[in-house]
Protein backbone atom coordinates (compact mmCIF):
# COMPACT_ATOMS: atom_id res chain seq x y z
CA UNK A 1 0.00 0.00 0.00
CA UNK A 2 1.45 3.29 -1.12
CA UNK A 3 0.45 6.70 -2.43
CA UNK A 4 1.59 7.13 -6.01
CA UNK A 5 0.94 9.25 -9.04
CA UNK A 6 -0.26 7.31 -12.05
CA UNK A 7 -0.06 8.43 -15.65
CA UNK A 8 -2.91 7.83 -18.07
CA UNK A 9 -1.83 5.89 -21.13
CA UNK A 10 -5.28 5.44 -22.61
CA UNK A 11 -8.82 6.23 -21.46
CA UNK A 12 -10.76 4.06 -23.86
CA UNK A 13 -14.46 4.76 -24.29
CA UNK A 14 -15.90 1.28 -24.78
CA UNK A 15 -19.58 2.14 -25.28
CA UNK A 16 -22.29 4.22 -23.61
CA UNK A 17 -21.13 5.01 -20.08
CA UNK A 18 -18.36 2.40 -20.00
CA UNK A 19 -14.63 3.12 -20.08
CA UNK A 20 -11.38 1.22 -19.67
CA UNK A 21 -8.37 3.18 -18.41
CA UNK A 22 -4.85 1.95 -18.96
CA UNK A 23 -2.44 3.74 -16.67
CA UNK A 24 1.13 3.50 -15.65
CA UNK A 25 1.30 2.79 -11.91
CA UNK A 26 4.69 1.35 -10.93
CA UNK A 27 3.90 0.29 -7.38
CA UNK A 28 0.34 -1.01 -7.78
CA UNK A 29 1.21 -2.91 -10.97
CA UNK A 30 4.00 -4.76 -9.15
CA UNK A 31 2.16 -5.43 -5.89
CA UNK A 32 -1.45 -5.87 -7.03
CA UNK A 33 -3.16 -9.24 -6.60
CA UNK A 34 -6.48 -10.47 -8.01
CA UNK A 35 -9.25 -9.02 -5.82
CA UNK A 36 -7.27 -5.96 -4.69
CA UNK A 37 -8.60 -2.50 -5.36
CA UNK A 38 -7.21 1.02 -5.53
CA UNK A 39 -8.50 4.44 -4.47
CA UNK A 40 -8.29 6.99 -7.26
CA UNK A 41 -8.72 10.73 -7.62
CA UNK A 42 -8.73 12.46 -10.96
CA UNK A 43 -9.00 15.86 -9.27
CA UNK A 44 -6.21 18.11 -8.08
CA UNK A 45 -8.61 20.51 -6.35
CA UNK A 46 -10.22 18.34 -3.63
CA UNK A 47 -13.46 18.56 -5.57
CA UNK A 48 -14.87 15.98 -5.47
CA UNK A 49 -13.30 15.47 -2.07
CA UNK A 50 -12.93 11.72 -1.71
CA UNK A 51 -11.01 9.23 -3.77
CA UNK A 52 -13.11 6.50 -5.42
CA UNK A 53 -12.53 2.74 -5.13
CA UNK A 54 -11.97 0.61 -8.26
CA UNK A 55 -11.07 -3.05 -8.57
CA UNK A 56 -7.88 -3.78 -10.48
CA UNK A 57 -9.31 -5.05 -13.76
CA UNK A 58 -5.98 -6.29 -15.06
CA UNK A 59 -2.30 -5.55 -14.73
CA UNK A 60 0.94 -6.01 -16.57
CA UNK A 61 3.75 -4.06 -14.91
CA UNK A 62 4.18 -1.12 -15.11
CA UNK A 63 0.56 -0.85 -16.28
CA UNK A 64 -2.82 -1.45 -14.69
CA UNK A 65 -6.31 -1.31 -16.13
CA UNK A 66 -9.44 0.07 -14.47
CA UNK A 67 -12.91 -0.63 -15.89
CA UNK A 68 -15.60 1.82 -14.87
CA UNK A 69 -19.06 3.12 -15.60
CA UNK A 70 -19.78 6.84 -15.34
CA UNK A 71 -22.26 7.12 -12.48
CA UNK A 72 -21.41 10.35 -10.65
CA UNK A 73 -19.04 13.28 -10.27
CA UNK A 74 -15.91 11.20 -9.64
CA UNK A 75 -16.32 8.86 -12.58
CA UNK A 76 -17.49 11.72 -14.82
CA UNK A 77 -14.23 13.52 -14.12
CA UNK A 78 -12.29 10.30 -14.66
CA UNK A 79 -13.86 9.99 -18.10
CA UNK A 80 -12.40 13.36 -19.14
CA UNK A 81 -8.79 12.31 -18.56
CA UNK A 82 -6.42 12.22 -21.52
CA UNK A 83 -3.14 10.39 -22.15
CA UNK A 84 -0.29 11.80 -20.00
CA UNK A 85 -2.71 13.23 -17.43
CA UNK A 86 -1.74 12.46 -13.85
CA UNK A 87 -3.93 10.63 -11.41
CA UNK A 88 -3.56 10.22 -7.68
CA UNK A 89 -3.63 6.58 -6.53
CA UNK A 90 -3.59 4.78 -3.20
CA UNK A 91 -3.04 1.05 -3.38
CA UNK A 92 -3.05 -1.83 -3.75
CA UNK A 93 -5.72 -2.16 -1.05
CA UNK A 94 -7.77 -4.88 0.56
CA UNK A 95 -7.36 -8.64 0.57
CA UNK A 96 -7.35 -10.85 -2.51
CA UNK A 97 -9.01 -13.94 -3.90
CA UNK A 98 -7.43 -17.18 -2.61
CA UNK A 99 -4.56 -18.73 -4.51
CA UNK A 100 -5.93 -21.95 -6.07
CA UNK A 101 -4.61 -24.92 -7.98
CA UNK A 102 -6.37 -27.84 -9.69
CA UNK A 103 -9.82 -26.55 -8.86
CA UNK A 104 -12.88 -26.25 -11.05
CA UNK A 105 -13.93 -22.65 -10.63
CA UNK A 106 -17.09 -20.76 -11.52
CA UNK A 107 -16.87 -16.96 -11.67
CA UNK A 108 -20.14 -15.03 -11.59
CA UNK A 109 -20.12 -11.37 -12.63
CA UNK A 110 -23.01 -8.94 -12.73
CA UNK A 111 -22.49 -5.72 -14.72
CA UNK A 112 -19.32 -3.89 -13.71
CA UNK A 113 -18.67 -6.74 -11.27
CA UNK A 114 -16.55 -8.16 -14.09
CA UNK A 115 -13.98 -5.52 -13.08
CA UNK A 116 -13.18 -7.40 -9.87
CA UNK A 117 -13.09 -10.95 -11.23
CA UNK A 118 -11.46 -10.61 -14.66
CA UNK A 119 -7.92 -10.48 -13.26
CA UNK A 120 -8.68 -13.43 -10.96
CA UNK A 121 -10.06 -15.46 -13.87
CA UNK A 122 -6.90 -14.86 -15.89
CA UNK A 123 -4.70 -15.93 -12.96
CA UNK A 124 -6.83 -18.99 -12.18
CA UNK A 125 -6.73 -20.16 -15.79
CA UNK A 126 -3.01 -20.91 -15.37
CA UNK A 127 -3.66 -23.79 -12.94
CA UNK A 128 -7.41 -24.40 -12.86
CA UNK A 129 -10.48 -24.90 -15.01
CA UNK A 130 -12.61 -21.77 -15.02
CA UNK A 131 -16.13 -21.06 -16.27
CA UNK A 132 -17.85 -17.67 -16.24
CA UNK A 133 -21.44 -16.54 -15.87
CA UNK A 134 -21.66 -12.91 -16.95
CA UNK A 135 -24.83 -10.89 -17.11
CA UNK A 136 -26.19 -7.34 -17.24
CA UNK A 137 -29.26 -5.38 -18.32
CA UNK A 138 -28.57 -5.61 -22.04
CA UNK A 139 -25.86 -6.19 -24.60
CA UNK A 140 -24.95 -2.52 -24.21
CA UNK A 141 -23.81 -3.28 -20.66
CA UNK A 142 -21.77 -6.40 -21.41
CA UNK A 143 -18.21 -5.65 -22.42
CA UNK A 144 -14.97 -7.59 -23.11
CA UNK A 145 -16.86 -10.39 -24.84
CA UNK A 146 -14.13 -10.79 -27.44
CA UNK A 147 -11.39 -11.20 -24.81
CA UNK A 148 -13.53 -13.57 -22.79
CA UNK A 149 -14.04 -15.75 -25.83
CA UNK A 150 -10.29 -16.04 -26.40
CA UNK A 151 -9.02 -16.88 -22.89
CA UNK A 152 -9.99 -20.60 -22.99
CA UNK A 153 -12.78 -20.66 -20.43
CA UNK A 154 -14.33 -24.08 -19.84
CA UNK A 155 -17.72 -22.41 -20.20
CA UNK A 156 -18.99 -18.88 -20.89
CA UNK A 157 -22.64 -18.19 -20.09
CA UNK A 158 -24.05 -14.79 -20.97
CA UNK A 159 -27.32 -13.36 -19.64
CA UNK A 160 -29.20 -10.14 -20.27
CA UNK A 161 -32.39 -8.85 -18.65
CA UNK A 162 -33.83 -7.89 -22.03
CA UNK A 163 -32.59 -10.90 -23.98
CA UNK A 164 -30.53 -8.70 -26.34
CA UNK A 165 -27.58 -11.05 -25.84
CA UNK A 166 -27.16 -14.54 -24.41
CA UNK A 167 -29.99 -16.01 -22.38
CA UNK A 168 -32.83 -13.72 -21.36
CA UNK A 169 -32.81 -13.62 -17.58
CA UNK A 170 -30.64 -13.04 -14.55
CA UNK A 171 -27.21 -14.53 -13.88
CA UNK A 172 -28.57 -16.70 -11.11
CA UNK A 173 -31.04 -18.53 -13.37
CA UNK A 174 -28.97 -21.67 -14.08
CA UNK A 175 -26.23 -21.59 -11.44
CA UNK A 176 -27.05 -24.95 -9.86
CA UNK A 177 -27.19 -26.68 -13.24
CA UNK A 178 -23.86 -25.18 -14.31
CA UNK A 179 -22.20 -26.11 -11.01
CA UNK A 180 -23.33 -29.72 -11.36
CA UNK A 181 -22.47 -29.96 -15.02
CA UNK A 182 -18.85 -28.81 -14.54
CA UNK A 183 -18.30 -30.29 -11.07
CA UNK A 184 -17.52 -26.82 -9.71
CA UNK A 185 -15.55 -26.75 -6.44
CA UNK A 186 -15.08 -23.00 -5.98
CA UNK A 187 -17.22 -19.98 -6.88
CA UNK A 188 -16.16 -16.34 -6.97
CA UNK A 189 -18.75 -13.60 -7.45
CA UNK A 190 -18.94 -9.87 -7.86
CA UNK A 191 -21.94 -7.70 -8.64
CA UNK A 192 -24.81 -5.85 -7.03
CA UNK A 193 -25.70 -6.87 -3.44
CA UNK A 194 -29.05 -8.17 -4.63
CA UNK A 195 -27.34 -10.56 -7.04
CA UNK A 196 -24.86 -11.78 -4.40
CA UNK A 197 -27.73 -12.30 -2.01
CA UNK A 198 -29.55 -14.50 -4.52
CA UNK A 199 -26.37 -16.44 -5.28
CA UNK A 200 -25.83 -17.13 -1.60
CA UNK A 201 -29.29 -18.59 -1.06
CA UNK A 202 -29.07 -20.72 -4.21
CA UNK A 203 -25.68 -22.28 -3.52
CA UNK A 204 -25.41 -22.29 0.25
CA UNK A 205 -26.21 -26.00 0.58
CA UNK A 206 -23.90 -27.11 -2.22
CA UNK A 207 -20.40 -28.35 -1.43
CA UNK A 208 -18.65 -25.45 -3.16
CA UNK A 209 -16.40 -22.93 -1.41
CA UNK A 210 -17.90 -19.56 -2.21
CA UNK A 211 -16.21 -16.17 -2.27
CA UNK A 212 -17.71 -12.77 -3.04
CA UNK A 213 -16.02 -9.46 -3.68
CA UNK A 214 -18.21 -6.77 -2.11
CA UNK A 215 -18.70 -3.20 -3.22
CA UNK A 216 -19.28 -0.42 -0.69
CA UNK A 217 -19.29 3.34 -0.33
CA UNK A 218 -15.80 4.08 0.96
CA UNK A 219 -14.30 7.13 2.58
CA UNK A 220 -10.63 6.25 2.75
CA UNK A 221 -10.06 2.67 1.54
CA UNK A 222 -7.47 1.81 4.20
CA UNK A 223 -9.42 1.21 7.39
CA UNK A 224 -9.48 4.64 8.99
CA UNK A 225 -12.96 6.11 8.52
CA UNK A 226 -14.83 2.86 9.24
CA UNK A 227 -17.63 3.77 6.89
CA UNK A 228 -17.68 0.75 4.55
CA UNK A 229 -18.94 -1.81 7.02
CA UNK A 230 -20.91 -4.96 6.23
CA UNK A 231 -22.79 -7.03 8.78
CA UNK A 232 -21.57 -10.56 9.38
CA UNK A 233 -23.59 -13.59 10.46
CA UNK A 234 -22.28 -13.33 13.99
CA UNK A 235 -23.73 -9.80 14.21
CA UNK A 236 -20.53 -7.87 13.89
CA UNK A 237 -19.42 -5.27 11.39
CA UNK A 238 -16.48 -5.95 9.14
CA UNK A 239 -14.81 -3.34 6.98
CA UNK A 240 -15.03 -4.01 3.26
CA UNK A 241 -11.78 -2.08 2.67
CA UNK A 242 -9.48 -3.92 5.07
CA UNK A 243 -11.29 -7.13 6.07
CA UNK A 244 -12.40 -7.56 2.44
CA UNK A 245 -13.33 -6.80 -0.24
CA UNK A 246 -13.24 -10.60 -0.69
CA UNK A 247 -15.28 -12.51 1.89
CA UNK A 248 -16.33 -16.12 2.22
CA UNK A 249 -20.02 -15.90 1.41
CA UNK A 250 -21.14 -17.67 4.56
CA UNK A 251 -19.47 -14.97 6.69
CA UNK A 252 -21.93 -12.30 5.53
CA UNK A 253 -25.43 -11.69 6.83
CA UNK A 254 -27.42 -11.90 3.60
Amino acid sequence: MKEETGTIVENHHIQNEYYLIKMRADHVSKQGKPGNFIMVSASSTLEPLLKRPFGIFDLNPPYIWIYYKVVGRGTRLLSTLNPDDKISILGPLGNSFPVLENETILAIAGGTGIASVYFAIKEYLKNNKVSLIYGAKSKNDLNFLHSLETISLAGLYLYSDDGSIGIKGVVTADIKKIINQHGITITISCGPDEMLNRIFWIIKDLKTDDYASLEAIMGCGFGICQSCVVETRNKEYKQVCTDGPVFKMEEIQW
Partner: protein, 303 residues
Amino acid sequence: MVDLSVDLGFIGLKNPVIPASGTFGYGEEFLPFFNLDLLGAFVFKGIYKNKRMGNPPPRIQETPAGLLNSIGLPGPGMKELKKIIKRVYQSTSTPIIINVCGETDQEYLDVAEYFDRMEEVAILELNISCPNVKSGGRCPAQDDKHTYRLVKQIKQSVSTPLIVKLSPNVTDISAIAISAEEAGADCISLTNTFLGMAIDLESRKPLFSKIVAGLSGPAIKPLALRLVWEVARCVHVPVIGMGGITTGQDVLEFILAGATAVQTGTINLIEPSASIRIIKEIEQIMKEQNLMNLRELRGTLKT
Protein backbone atom coordinates in the same frame (compact mmCIF):
# COMPACT_ATOMS: atom_id res chain seq x y z
CA MET B 1 16.51 27.53 10.12
CA VAL B 2 12.90 28.14 11.06
CA ASP B 3 11.57 26.88 14.37
CA LEU B 4 8.33 24.96 13.99
CA SER B 5 8.02 24.03 17.66
CA VAL B 6 5.05 25.15 19.73
CA ASP B 7 4.48 25.25 23.47
CA LEU B 8 1.13 24.19 24.91
CA GLY B 9 2.34 25.05 28.41
CA PHE B 10 2.08 21.53 29.75
CA ILE B 11 4.00 20.05 26.81
CA GLY B 12 6.17 21.26 23.95
CA LEU B 13 5.55 19.88 20.45
CA LYS B 14 8.13 19.76 17.67
CA ASN B 15 5.59 21.25 15.29
CA PRO B 16 1.94 22.36 15.45
CA VAL B 17 0.42 19.56 13.33
CA ILE B 18 -1.69 16.93 15.10
CA PRO B 19 -3.86 14.45 13.18
CA ALA B 20 -7.34 14.55 14.71
CA SER B 21 -9.36 11.89 16.41
CA GLY B 22 -11.29 9.62 14.05
CA THR B 23 -9.15 10.48 11.04
CA PHE B 24 -5.95 8.79 12.11
CA GLY B 25 -7.00 5.39 13.46
CA TYR B 26 -4.49 4.42 16.12
CA GLY B 27 -1.53 5.89 14.27
CA GLU B 28 -0.04 2.55 13.26
CA GLU B 29 -2.22 2.39 10.12
CA PHE B 30 -0.12 5.32 8.85
CA LEU B 31 3.26 3.64 9.35
CA PRO B 32 3.35 2.53 5.68
CA PHE B 33 3.21 6.21 4.71
CA PHE B 34 5.52 8.05 7.11
CA ASN B 35 7.42 8.04 10.38
CA LEU B 36 5.09 9.08 13.20
CA ASP B 37 8.02 10.89 14.83
CA LEU B 38 7.53 13.66 12.25
CA LEU B 39 4.21 14.74 13.79
CA GLY B 40 3.66 17.25 16.57
CA ALA B 41 1.39 14.73 18.30
CA PHE B 42 -1.52 12.54 17.23
CA VAL B 43 -4.97 11.74 18.59
CA PHE B 44 -6.39 8.22 18.77
CA LYS B 45 -9.92 7.53 17.62
CA GLY B 46 -12.39 8.33 20.43
CA ILE B 47 -12.78 5.59 23.02
CA TYR B 48 -15.62 4.54 25.31
CA LYS B 49 -15.36 2.12 28.22
CA ASN B 50 -16.75 -0.90 26.38
CA LYS B 51 -16.66 -2.27 22.86
CA ARG B 52 -19.05 -0.52 20.44
CA MET B 53 -20.29 -1.58 17.00
CA GLY B 54 -21.07 1.88 15.68
CA ASN B 55 -24.03 2.87 13.51
CA PRO B 56 -25.55 0.77 10.72
CA PRO B 57 -24.48 1.78 7.19
CA PRO B 58 -24.66 4.08 5.33
CA ARG B 59 -22.20 5.97 7.47
CA ILE B 60 -20.90 8.67 5.15
CA GLN B 61 -21.97 10.91 2.32
CA GLU B 62 -19.76 13.20 0.30
CA THR B 63 -21.00 16.79 0.00
CA PRO B 64 -19.54 19.73 -1.95
CA ALA B 65 -16.05 20.13 -0.40
CA GLY B 66 -17.19 18.16 2.62
CA LEU B 67 -17.97 14.85 4.21
CA LEU B 68 -21.00 14.00 6.33
CA ASN B 69 -20.42 11.16 8.74
CA SER B 70 -22.48 9.16 11.15
CA ILE B 71 -19.99 6.47 12.11
CA GLY B 72 -21.13 6.20 15.73
CA LEU B 73 -17.70 5.83 17.36
CA PRO B 74 -17.15 2.08 17.02
CA GLY B 75 -14.22 0.90 19.06
CA PRO B 76 -12.69 -1.99 20.97
CA GLY B 77 -13.25 -0.59 24.47
CA MET B 78 -10.60 0.81 26.79
CA LYS B 79 -8.97 -2.45 27.84
CA GLU B 80 -8.26 -3.50 24.26
CA LEU B 81 -7.09 0.02 23.48
CA LYS B 82 -4.50 -0.20 26.24
CA LYS B 83 -2.75 -3.02 24.35
CA ILE B 84 -2.80 -0.96 21.16
CA ILE B 85 -1.34 2.08 22.94
CA LYS B 86 1.51 -0.02 24.33
CA ARG B 87 2.25 -1.35 20.85
CA VAL B 88 2.11 2.04 19.10
CA TYR B 89 4.21 3.64 21.83
CA GLN B 90 7.05 1.31 20.80
CA SER B 91 7.05 2.76 17.29
CA THR B 92 7.23 6.46 18.09
CA SER B 93 8.32 9.09 20.57
CA THR B 94 5.59 11.49 19.41
CA PRO B 95 3.07 12.32 22.18
CA ILE B 96 -0.06 10.15 22.05
CA ILE B 97 -3.38 11.85 22.82
CA ILE B 98 -6.36 9.73 23.90
CA ASN B 99 -9.79 11.06 22.96
CA VAL B 100 -12.06 10.26 25.91
CA CYS B 101 -15.77 9.54 25.31
CA GLY B 102 -18.68 8.69 27.57
CA GLU B 103 -22.43 8.22 27.54
CA THR B 104 -22.55 9.42 31.17
CA ASP B 105 -20.31 11.61 33.32
CA GLN B 106 -19.27 8.49 35.22
CA GLU B 107 -18.19 6.76 32.01
CA TYR B 108 -16.09 9.80 30.99
CA LEU B 109 -14.49 9.69 34.41
CA ASP B 110 -13.83 5.95 34.29
CA VAL B 111 -12.19 6.20 30.86
CA ALA B 112 -10.13 9.28 31.81
CA GLU B 113 -8.91 7.65 35.04
CA TYR B 114 -8.06 4.42 33.21
CA PHE B 115 -5.76 6.16 30.72
CA ASP B 116 -4.44 8.57 33.34
CA ARG B 117 -2.64 5.56 34.80
CA MET B 118 -0.73 4.87 31.55
CA GLU B 119 2.63 6.57 31.19
CA GLU B 120 2.39 6.04 27.41
CA VAL B 121 -0.49 8.53 27.26
CA ALA B 122 0.81 12.11 27.11
CA ILE B 123 -2.49 14.01 26.95
CA LEU B 124 -6.22 13.36 27.29
CA GLU B 125 -8.68 15.07 24.96
CA LEU B 126 -12.19 15.14 26.35
CA ASN B 127 -14.78 14.67 23.62
CA ILE B 128 -17.72 16.48 25.18
CA SER B 129 -19.79 16.08 22.00
CA CYS B 130 -20.99 12.56 22.87
CA PRO B 131 -24.77 12.26 23.29
CA ASN B 132 -25.40 11.87 27.03
CA VAL B 133 -27.96 9.23 28.00
CA LYS B 134 -28.85 11.07 31.19
CA SER B 135 -29.40 14.43 29.48
CA GLY B 136 -31.92 13.22 26.92
CA GLY B 137 -29.23 12.77 24.28
CA ARG B 138 -27.83 16.29 24.64
CA CYS B 139 -24.09 16.39 24.83
CA PRO B 140 -22.16 18.15 27.63
CA ALA B 141 -20.74 20.57 25.05
CA GLN B 142 -24.19 22.09 24.55
CA ASP B 143 -24.48 23.26 28.16
CA ASP B 144 -21.91 25.47 29.92
CA LYS B 145 -22.91 24.18 33.37
CA HIS B 146 -22.63 20.55 32.31
CA THR B 147 -19.27 21.27 30.67
CA TYR B 148 -18.04 22.93 33.88
CA ARG B 149 -19.26 20.08 36.08
CA LEU B 150 -17.74 17.36 33.90
CA VAL B 151 -14.38 19.04 33.34
CA LYS B 152 -14.08 19.92 37.05
CA GLN B 153 -14.80 16.33 38.07
CA ILE B 154 -12.22 14.94 35.66
CA LYS B 155 -9.56 17.50 36.54
CA GLN B 156 -9.94 16.55 40.20
CA SER B 157 -9.30 12.90 39.38
CA VAL B 158 -6.56 12.86 36.76
CA SER B 159 -3.10 14.37 36.51
CA THR B 160 -2.58 13.91 32.75
CA PRO B 161 -3.00 17.25 30.92
CA LEU B 162 -6.56 17.69 29.66
CA ILE B 163 -7.68 19.20 26.36
CA VAL B 164 -11.41 19.91 26.14
CA LYS B 165 -12.74 19.55 22.57
CA LEU B 166 -15.69 21.81 21.84
CA SER B 167 -18.70 21.33 19.62
CA PRO B 168 -19.57 24.08 17.14
CA ASN B 169 -23.28 23.28 17.51
CA VAL B 170 -23.97 25.89 20.16
CA THR B 171 -25.23 29.46 20.25
CA ASP B 172 -22.36 30.93 22.24
CA ILE B 173 -19.18 28.90 22.04
CA SER B 174 -17.24 31.41 24.17
CA ALA B 175 -19.43 30.62 27.17
CA ILE B 176 -18.62 26.92 26.87
CA ALA B 177 -14.91 27.61 26.37
CA ILE B 178 -14.80 29.85 29.46
CA SER B 179 -16.63 27.20 31.51
CA ALA B 180 -14.09 24.59 30.46
CA GLU B 181 -11.22 26.90 31.31
CA GLU B 182 -12.69 27.86 34.70
CA ALA B 183 -13.16 24.16 35.48
CA GLY B 184 -9.45 23.64 34.90
CA ALA B 185 -9.03 22.62 31.25
CA ASP B 186 -5.37 22.87 30.25
CA CYS B 187 -6.19 23.51 26.62
CA ILE B 188 -9.21 23.96 24.35
CA SER B 189 -9.52 22.27 20.95
CA LEU B 190 -12.14 23.12 18.38
CA THR B 191 -14.04 22.40 16.42
CA ASN B 192 -15.75 19.05 16.25
CA THR B 193 -18.02 18.43 13.22
CA PHE B 194 -20.99 20.65 12.37
CA LEU B 195 -24.38 18.97 12.53
CA GLY B 196 -25.93 18.45 9.16
CA MET B 197 -28.22 15.97 7.45
CA ALA B 198 -28.85 14.22 4.19
CA ILE B 199 -32.16 13.13 2.73
CA ASP B 200 -32.92 10.37 0.26
CA LEU B 201 -35.57 11.84 -2.01
CA GLU B 202 -36.72 8.52 -3.42
CA SER B 203 -37.54 6.92 -0.07
CA ARG B 204 -38.33 10.31 1.56
CA LYS B 205 -36.22 9.21 4.49
CA PRO B 206 -33.11 10.60 6.14
CA LEU B 207 -30.01 8.96 4.66
CA PHE B 208 -28.53 8.24 8.10
CA SER B 209 -30.10 6.07 10.78
CA LYS B 210 -29.44 8.77 13.41
CA ILE B 211 -31.02 11.35 11.08
CA VAL B 212 -28.34 13.97 11.71
CA ALA B 213 -24.65 13.60 10.93
CA GLY B 214 -21.42 15.54 11.34
CA LEU B 215 -19.96 17.67 8.55
CA SER B 216 -16.20 18.00 8.12
CA GLY B 217 -13.76 18.87 5.36
CA PRO B 218 -12.79 22.08 3.54
CA ALA B 219 -16.44 23.19 3.52
CA ILE B 220 -16.27 24.00 7.25
CA LYS B 221 -12.92 25.80 7.30
CA PRO B 222 -14.30 29.37 7.32
CA LEU B 223 -16.81 28.43 10.04
CA ALA B 224 -14.14 26.80 12.18
CA LEU B 225 -11.73 29.69 11.67
CA ARG B 226 -14.32 32.14 13.02
CA LEU B 227 -14.99 29.99 16.08
CA VAL B 228 -11.27 29.55 16.82
CA TRP B 229 -10.77 33.31 16.56
CA GLU B 230 -13.66 33.93 18.92
CA VAL B 231 -12.56 31.37 21.52
CA ALA B 232 -8.87 32.33 21.39
CA ARG B 233 -9.82 35.91 22.30
CA CYS B 234 -11.63 34.92 25.49
CA VAL B 235 -9.56 32.14 27.08
CA HIS B 236 -6.01 32.20 28.44
CA VAL B 237 -5.18 28.52 27.90
CA PRO B 238 -3.78 27.47 24.53
CA VAL B 239 -6.21 26.72 21.71
CA ILE B 240 -5.86 23.93 19.16
CA GLY B 241 -7.72 24.83 15.97
CA MET B 242 -9.21 22.44 13.48
CA GLY B 243 -11.79 22.28 10.72
CA GLY B 244 -11.12 21.65 7.03
CA ILE B 245 -7.35 22.16 7.12
CA THR B 246 -5.73 20.85 3.93
CA THR B 247 -2.65 23.08 3.46
CA GLY B 248 0.16 24.80 5.34
CA GLN B 249 -1.51 28.10 4.53
CA ASP B 250 -4.67 26.95 6.31
CA VAL B 251 -2.58 26.15 9.40
CA LEU B 252 -1.00 29.61 9.47
CA GLU B 253 -4.44 31.21 9.14
CA PHE B 254 -5.62 29.30 12.23
CA ILE B 255 -2.47 30.40 14.09
CA LEU B 256 -3.10 34.03 13.07
CA ALA B 257 -6.61 33.62 14.45
CA GLY B 258 -5.08 32.63 17.79
CA ALA B 259 -4.47 28.87 17.69
CA THR B 260 -1.22 27.55 19.16
CA ALA B 261 -1.45 24.23 17.32
CA VAL B 262 -3.84 22.62 14.83
CA GLN B 263 -5.42 19.30 14.05
CA THR B 264 -5.74 17.86 10.56
CA GLY B 265 -8.87 15.81 9.91
CA THR B 266 -10.69 14.71 6.78
CA ILE B 267 -7.63 15.28 4.57
CA ASN B 268 -5.95 12.31 6.32
CA LEU B 269 -8.58 10.03 4.78
CA ILE B 270 -7.92 11.28 1.27
CA GLU B 271 -4.17 11.78 1.33
CA PRO B 272 -2.61 9.68 4.10
CA SER B 273 0.66 11.64 4.11
CA ALA B 274 -1.10 15.03 4.11
CA SER B 275 0.08 16.04 7.59
CA ILE B 276 3.71 15.65 6.51
CA ARG B 277 3.11 17.70 3.36
CA ILE B 278 1.40 20.35 5.48
CA ILE B 279 4.37 20.55 7.88
CA LYS B 280 6.69 21.11 4.89
CA GLU B 281 4.38 23.78 3.51
CA ILE B 282 4.35 25.62 6.86
CA GLU B 283 8.14 25.62 6.87
CA GLN B 284 8.22 26.91 3.30
CA ILE B 285 5.80 29.77 4.00
CA MET B 286 7.70 30.72 7.16
CA LYS B 287 10.90 30.96 5.14
CA GLU B 288 9.19 33.09 2.51
CA GLN B 289 7.76 35.40 5.17
CA ASN B 290 10.98 35.52 7.22
CA LEU B 291 9.25 34.07 10.27
CA MET B 292 11.68 32.55 12.75
CA ASN B 293 9.02 30.88 14.88
CA LEU B 294 5.27 30.50 15.16
CA ARG B 295 4.94 32.58 18.36
CA GLU B 296 5.63 35.65 16.23
CA LEU B 297 2.51 34.91 14.25
CA ARG B 298 0.05 33.59 16.81
CA GLY B 299 -2.95 35.80 17.41
CA THR B 300 -1.46 38.69 15.42
CA LEU B 301 -4.48 39.07 13.18
CA LYS B 302 -4.78 42.74 12.25
CA THR B 303 -8.37 43.79 12.81
